[in-house]
């Protein structure tokens, strides 16, 4: 089995961990199953070993006390989140966690927008434990923009970035402005959903879990809809199901964009920057949806500073 992310020795260790864990957790003979790579990008490797998924985390991420708190936190909402089956393991200085396997979203089928919205609304409606770590700030957008090179599309993205509030641009040490805080996933997209063995959907990836503004969990579909990349029907299914489930990120009725504007802008800029960077790396022009994201950045600058 070939992987982009790690050397074969580490992969073999992950498979071994999966087989050892299977012995403790389940009586099904999953150890005999052929391991399968589920995810292999950006220094993260997830391998399926029978009924388990073994995740090798990014080397440069913080996996100390806050991560342990997130694991404990995830275990308190088992209907919403897939929590690791035990404490994190150390493999050659890298963090490894083990989870029950869940079926990812099939992009060729009808997408589970309603299910995702309901899971987020349920998470956001959970009482926040006093010791819950903070989600912090949306640091990815500033990081992506800092990786941009030069060119006309880059200028458009940079101008849009300048409309964001200083705390998102990371110019001062400020955290987010004081707001009612909820338990949020912190990095939600359709790749963060799996169908568990009980047939019900759950959220995965607890690395950004914490207290924060729930509007950020709606930011990605909001950004893609605003850019014209996500069809209005799909956005309506998602937003409608979220409101129907009583999610607190947006008003139950009335204009959702008062709370969604800044998160949607930020994600539109982050996604546009990601697109520009990968097009440049692959030495090709932007394709149509990628150009739509850059065009959205142009409209963001024209709209002026975010409130």
């Amino acid at each position: 089995m070939h992987t982009e992310t790690v050397q074969p020795g580490l992969l073999a260790r992950l498979i071994e961990i999966g087989r050892e864990s299977a012995g403790h957790v389940t009586s099904t003979p999953s150890a005999a199953a052929e391991p399968e790579t589920l995810y292999d990008r950006h220094g993260v490797l997830v391998v399926r070993v029978g009924d388990l998924a073994v995740k090798l985390h990014q080397a440069d991420r913080e996996h100390g006390a806050p991560f342990l708190e997130r694991i404990r936190l995830a275990a308190t909402v088992p209907d919403v989140l897939v929590a690791p089956l035990g404490p994190p393991l150390d493999v050659d200085g890298r963090t490894v966690t083990v989870y029950p396997y869940g079926e990812p979203v099939d992009p060729q089928q009808k997408l589970p927008w309603e299910e995702g919205a309901r899971l987020l609304a349920a998470l956001h409606s959970t009482t926040v434990p006093a010791d819950a770590p903070s989600w912090g700030r949306p640091a990815r957008v500033a990081r992506r923009v800092s990786e941009l090179g030069h060119g006309p599309a880059v200028d458009v993205v940079r101008r849009a970035f300048a409309t964001l509030p200083a705390w998102i641009r990371g110019e001062n040490g400020d955290g987010p402005p004081d707001a009612a805080e909820y338990l949020i996933h912190g990095d939600w997209h359709l790749g963060q959903m799996v169908r568990a063995q009980d047939g019900r959907w759950r959220l995965i990836d607890i690395e950004d879990l914490g207290r924060g503004d729930p509007a950020w969990d709606l930011a990605r579909p909001a950004a893609l809809y605003s850019a014209g990349v996500l069809h209005p029907d799909e956005w309506s299914r998602f937003l409608g199901a979220y409101q129907e489930a009583g999610g607190p990120a947006v008003p139950a009725e009335g204009d959702p964009w008062t709370s969604l504007d800044v998160p949607a802008r930020s994600l539109a800029i982050q996604i546009a920057a990601t697109c520009v960077i990968s097009a440049e790396r692959e030495d090709r022009p932007l394709n149509e949806p990628e150009q739509a994201m850059v065009d959205a950045c142009g409209r963001i600058s024209a709209a002026g500073d975010a409130a």
């Binding site: 992009p107 060729q108 949607a264 394709n287």
Partner: protein
């Protein structure tokens, strides 16, 4: 065909499946049987259409959709770069 009012030459146009004869001279319009009803039905459908979903001030115009459903036969709605946008961090 000549215009019944001014005898000018009438030209045929087809718009959304409705055939319209229009006179080049007086701009008068001639509708075939059933075509007025077809227009009235289209008008009522237009009025009944739900309002477009709200968007932020910088949102794309409703007609600017870079991703279209092509029906079940070509059901590949989320490939390529859109897949990455929807499914990866």
């Amino acid at each position: 065909m000549h215009c019944p009012k001014c005898r000018g030459v009438m030209r045929t146009y087809t718009r959304s499946g409705v055939h319209i004869e229009q006179c080049d001279s007086c701009r008068g319009i001639f509708l075939d049987y059933g075509e007025l009803e077809a227009l009235a039905q289209m008008e009522s459908q237009y009025r009944a259409a739900p309002p477009p979903a709200a968007a932020p001030g910088w949102g794309a115009a409703p007609q600017v959709q870079h991703h279209h459903h092509h029906g079940a036969r070509h059901h590949r709605p989320h490939g390529g770069s859109v897949f990455h946008m929807l499914f990866t961090t």
